[in-house]
Symmetry: C2
DNA sequence: TACTACATCAACAAAAAAGTTGTCCTGATT
DNA sequence: AATCAGGACAACTTTTTTGTTGATGTAGTA
């Protein structure tokens, strides 16, 4: 009857996640006391752009897709979120609304931790604070990459970059491409769905990739990297 | 580029909604200062069962469906939410997680108001508090109805009741039935989708209703009421 | 001026989801 | 033991969504 689970099994999770390893027992208690666990099903929103963010999400299992919503039903995908990552960090210390949406690509077990708990632990525990800062930095760097791509690259480069990006998830999730529609891929590259379809076909013709049903196999890694670099 | 809108048009909304009419100017300011507006698209979750609820949602336009999630991918629909109604009230004064999910049936313009603002206004403004209590009461009564139905009625009665319930929205939203799948209807009645399909057909054969594509026309109101009453 | 790099539209094909129906099984009620 | 209500499953149809392709239009660039 409940979406919230508190079995022993799940309980162990928050101790085991690397990022919580560095906490003192009392700090773990603090976090545990102000967290709740939710199962988001495939397709559910984890965060909704513009909504109040009183908590941070920590992904235990499953994958999600983070994106910014535009006006006219358009959206641009920013990243794929993996287990062990936070969502909504950007809203903890500054703005109190989410500035992006994210949606579950598979069923996701997620901790929600209230902002105050995170803030307090960061203030108390320098090491934890450090990893937070590091995560912010990485996200920032990625945002700049995205921005550069959108500003300067054109179709071929964008799609190549997108394919390489998504392909990096194949180790952990071999079926990653099956989880994404052509529109999703296009929205990562910031081009129209039709253009994405056409480019994928042409990449296949040129032997860079192979299209197997919904799956995409990267054959010529360096070739794509080259195209991505040239823009 | 933004989901959050602050045009003059929308601005007027929060003044015009009947329920905010009774507030003093300063109270309106308080609410306005701690609100944000979000466009939820058809299919988006407005609330997710188990997630922290730091705010209340006020529906400006659009319809949503409120339901409780079960373990095995099952869910039971509780009500259809109309403009002018609140979602998440139940979490303001007591629990700080949502105990149900809700999902947009159409695009929805929604105010999110932080809990604190609501609490303060309720304490200050007796009339406003009164309407809040009233809303709680109504929701409570409806929950008891639902409970009774689930406990005591059987298929025919449940479906009849569901049809009458949904039909009440036809005035404001003639296409209400088109917004609901057979599974949605079944989940209102708490029966399997297949049973719902069969009963609808049999109701049609008996002249209680007419099935036109996805639309359902109630022909014999009293008949259905009778079936609903008998259980 | 012609060309490039796309988006947009329309038409269609393929795949996925929703709806429908019959059959069977189970647990409760008579 | 017999009956009844109603869920579960399987097979199938219909509808909706997603993917694909070619044609057309347009703003910026060589």
């Amino acid at each position: 009857m409940k979406t919230i689970l508190e079995t022993d099994n799940e309980f162990i999770c928050d101790i085991q996640a690397p990022c919580f390893q560095m906490l003192l027992p009392e700090e773990v208690e603090l976090v545990r006391g102000s967290k709740t666990q939710v199962l988001f099903r495939k397709g559910d929103h984890l965060t909704k752009q513009g909504a109040f963010s009183s908590y941070v999400l920590f992904i235990i299992s499953g994958l999600a897709r983070q994106y910014v919503e535009g006006n006219n039903n358009k959206s641009h995908n920013l990243r794929i979120i993996k287990p062990g990552e936070f969502v909504g960090l950007s809203a903890v210390f500054t703005k109190n609304t989410f500035n992006y949406s994210s949606i579950a690509l598979t069923d996701c077990q997620v901790f929600l931790v209230e902002k105050e708990a995170i803030t307090r632990v960061v203030k108390q525990n320098g090491l934890f604070g450090f990893t937070m800062v590091k995560r912010y930095c990485e996200q920032n760097a990625n945002l700049f990459d995205t921005l550069r791509t959108v500003l300067y690259k054109q179709m071929n480069g964008r799609i190549a970059e997108t394919l390489l990006y998504i392909d990096r998830f194949k180790n952990d999730t071999p079926r990653i491409f099956q989880l994404l529609s052509r529109k999703d891929i296009a929205d990562f590259a910031g081009i129209s769905t039709e253009s994405a379809v056409k480019l994928l076909k042409s990449f296949e013709k040129d032997g860079f990739i192979e299209l197997k049903e919904k799956d995409i196999v990267v054959l010529n890694h360096n070739g794509l990297a080259e195209i991505s670099r040239k823009g």
